[in-house]
Symmetry: C2
Subunit: 508 residues, 2 copies
């Protein structure tokens, strides 16, 4: 059933599959916690999490696993030991080795120190954000940065310590690849924003009318159904922060947040999480538990959610099909609104302080700001004490606005308090990948707008499966982009897409 039949390969897979099942259990613990768990249970839940996490780690680093994997590949050099392995089998061995080294390079004492420090730091961050008190958080952040540098040293790197951290989330990605791509994107986005902000920006008060929760949820389910989701293998629930939790390709759980007076939150959350869900649902079930049945990286995952949310979900074609349905669901709030008006409303560009609420044009600048700061913190060219000032200056430079308080400025995200330095770039990479993938998709399906306008979506799923999902982690992010687009990682398609899209909207 698997692409690779070698018995040694099957031995590795067997152990790896147990770890995958344990990870699925971990996902269930997380999903349950955010959806249905009674609040009092939180302390016991965190202990359950700890136990499962330690079980997963034990399996991934066990002597049995090491022995089995050593039959496939030399753990020290990465040399494949069984030349008859298929290309897919070899790729799986390489990825297993990558994971194994990642899981074993950090001494237990360091892992514990890191976990303890970031647990405290998260707690302090929450308080600091609440009280707009950066100073109380600063020493903890400083400590987190030091620990991340230490981590980078344990993990090892060729060019830049930040690469070691990046690699945790985006295998094979390097600062030297990202930097010029982000720089180019930054210049283009700043220019585009300047042009847009020079235009008159109408407001869309109809989006603040009444949109009852029941109908909102029905509409979300209409979308999921059109995307090919069935209740047989997926579900949609509500949670404070939308997410997609995939236990395996046959158990995909998405959540949304319903705000009565702001329907876009639910709609685009659902489309976004559906993008993640489609990726997970289309991973090979036969390869479950191996790298060949896993998602490539955070960035590629994000490319899938953004592909659906923005390239498809915020397209005019999408709403040619769905606006009449939406209108019918909320006649009291939308009867005086027409398709074009709605299309402009969902594509409103307006520089804002908060990343998670940003539009397509400004979004990546929020990420680039964080990337530049992270590099500075790791290199030592930015001091933690100066962070609020640096943040606010960069906000002015990139978006032309500045936060009135650190709470909505440099304290807005949880990531740094968790020691997740190197994570942010994946959000921008997701958009850049998505634009490149979308360009390739458009070449294959030049009539996509016609089909989407008629409510057809399955051909998009199929195209993504054929060109991306079916491979699991057979290729690295850069390799798969090359394979799909015949080009290297490049922000040009994203810049072109944005300019093409927003020129008519804003009459540029």
């Amino acid at each position: 059933m698997t692409k690779e039949h070698d018995p040694h390969y099957q031995d590795v897979l067997k152990i790896s599959r147990i770890a995958a099942h344990l990870e699925a259990i971990q996902s269930l613990l997380g999903w349950d916690q955010e959806t249905y768990m009674p609040p009092s249970a939180i302390e016991f839940r965190s202990q359950q999490h700890e136990i499962i996490a330690s079980q997963i780690h034990k399996h991934q680093t066990s002597h049995d696993f090491q022995q089995a994997l050593s039959n496939l590949i030399d753990l020290a050099t990465g040399q494949i030991k069984i030349p008859s392995l298929s290309n897919a089998g070899k790729a799986a061995a390489r990825e297993w080795r990558r994971d194994y080294l990642k899981n074993t390079k950090l001494p237990l004492s360091f892992v514990e120190k890191f976990a303890k420090a970031t647990s405290i730091s998260q707690h302090v961050w929450m308080q600091a954000k609440q009280h707009n008190d950066f100073q109380s958080f600063a020493p903890h952040l400083k400590n987190c940065i030091e620990l991340c540098k230490e981590k980078a040293n344990y993990l090892g790197y060729e060019e830049h310590p930040y690469d070691a951290l990046l690699d945790l989330y985006e295998p094979g990605m390097k600062t030297s690849i990202i930097s010029p791509i982000f720089s180019k994107l930054k210049i283009a986005l700043k220019e585009l924003i300047k042009e847009i902000c020079a235009k008159k920006n109408p407001s869309y008060p109809f989006l603040l009318r009444e949109f009852p929760a029941v109908q909102q949820l029905e509409f979300s389910k209409n979308i999921l159904q059109a995307f090919g989701f069935s209740n047989e293998y997926s579900r949609l629930d509500q949670s404070a922060h939308p997410f997609c939790s995939a236990l395996n390709p046959l158990d995909i759980r998405m959540t949304t947040r319903i705000v009565n007076g702001y329907p876009l939150s639910n709609i685009f959350s659902v489309i976004h999480e559906a993008g993640h869900g489609i990726y997970e649902a289309q991973l090979s079930i036969h390869e479950y538990g191996s790298p060949l049945g896993s998602a490539i990286s955070l960035g590629i995952h994000e490319s899938q959610s953004r592909f659906w949310e923005t390239f498809i979900g915020k397209s005019h074609a999408f709403w040619r099909h769905f606006f009449p349905i939406l209108n019918k669901k909320f006649p009291q709030s939308l009867s005086d609104v027409d398709l074009n008006n709605f299309y402009c409303a969902i594509n409103e560009v307006r520089p804002s302080l908060i990343r998670v609420e940003a539009d397509e044009v400004t979004y990546c600048l929020h990420v680039i700001l964080r990337f530049e700061i992270e590099i500075g913190l790791v290199e030592g060219s930015i001091q933690v004490e100066d962070l609020p000032e640096v943040w606010n200056e960069k906000m002015i430079d990139l978006l032309g606005i500045s936060p009135l308080s650190d709470a909505v400025g440099c304290l807005q995200d949880i990531h740094w308090s968790m020691g997740a330095i190197g994570y942010f770039p994946t959000y921008a990479l997701g958009n850049i990948y998505a634009a490149q993938i979308f360009q390739a998709f458009e070449e294959h399906h030049s009539n996509w707008e016609e089909r989407v306008g008629m409510g057809e979506f399955l051909f998009i799923r199929e195209w993504l499966q054929t060109h991306l999902h079916q491979y699991g982690r057979e290729f690295t992010p850069c390799e798969i982009i090359k394979k799909i687009t015949d080009n290297h990682l490049d922000s040009t398609p994203y810049i072109k897409y944005l300019r093409d899209k927003f020129t008519p909207i804003y009459n540029l």
Copy 2:
């Protein structure tokens, strides 16, 4: 925080608590499967179950656990090694040893053989029941009986092989204790049924009217609230078969089944599961993971659910409070029904073929029938081939009716196909215990009907906590009954309760 402070005790507790957390995770897997899991996920779910079960077993039988426990108690003889342990600490050590021996006496090869055989047998049973084909199931049942006998030999027993099986579900219980108690109960119940069946039995067609699901669920939540449940630590969902799944005292999950045309199913399921839930919620959180924080046995657990469902929930006093509320929820279906009529309806006695739907008077006879057959099968005095005939004869003898097909006769329950011989008696024991506990409760709270009639329930919870729940497994079932009632296990209180209750209802 725990009753016992000895450091060796704490060492055992530490390991035992990890197993408890893993068991909580196992409960979550089960709860999720019955409530929200997408159907396609079932195969992967069973693999997740297997992995967690094996992790639990590993912890419970680990060398570390054995070593730690050996410091408290001699595993071979049961001699306590630390005389300074409190009585609670000694009891915990004894129960840990009981569990440890139970978990280690069966060779792995046997456990695997048993699991495989019963897995197949369950599958065959399901088909056999569907097609009313006992013959296809017979060889598998035969095999299950043989395996159970083999299991009994591994586990060991003093008097009767059935004792070893009983002990798995009801620690310390023996055939020689149960037999005379069941015999006495059987005679009394048969006599009571004869008297009731001689009377005119009116029907209650109003129970088959429309009872919309939303209001049914609301009413259930009214009951749970009155019983002291809050959403902080508990929840109610729907499932095909009602159950209570307690991850820990701060995470109690009950389910119910809503049938539009039959409201009693939901009402008494909820009260029954609430009884289980109150027990679990009132176990000591400080003793979590030790026998002192666990439920005593299946029978005692069932005594709690039956206590609430029948002794409280089917009492006239209960409905003096709740009938007006129910009436208000369903005015279109109940406005022409009065309290007394409703009270008689919920206490209708009518011999039926199916155990799970049986009334209070006939219920135990269904169990006694199975107990007698199980003893016969284990002793060899009943042959599997003769089972349908034996079953039908016993049904006629005990209940005066006989099934038209084996599907609703000897094939109705899943238990035997799972190799769960020795389980059934706990259902009847639950009722017998409940009556004894209820008698003691009545002595303390002679005005309970007055208070329940006014919607007071918390004093019942408190009484149960003081006299039963707080002890965990400090006492065996027989010991706790002695402690609460100052009497041995005895069916007299149950017989008296039934006669006292049904004499006025049926004008005997």
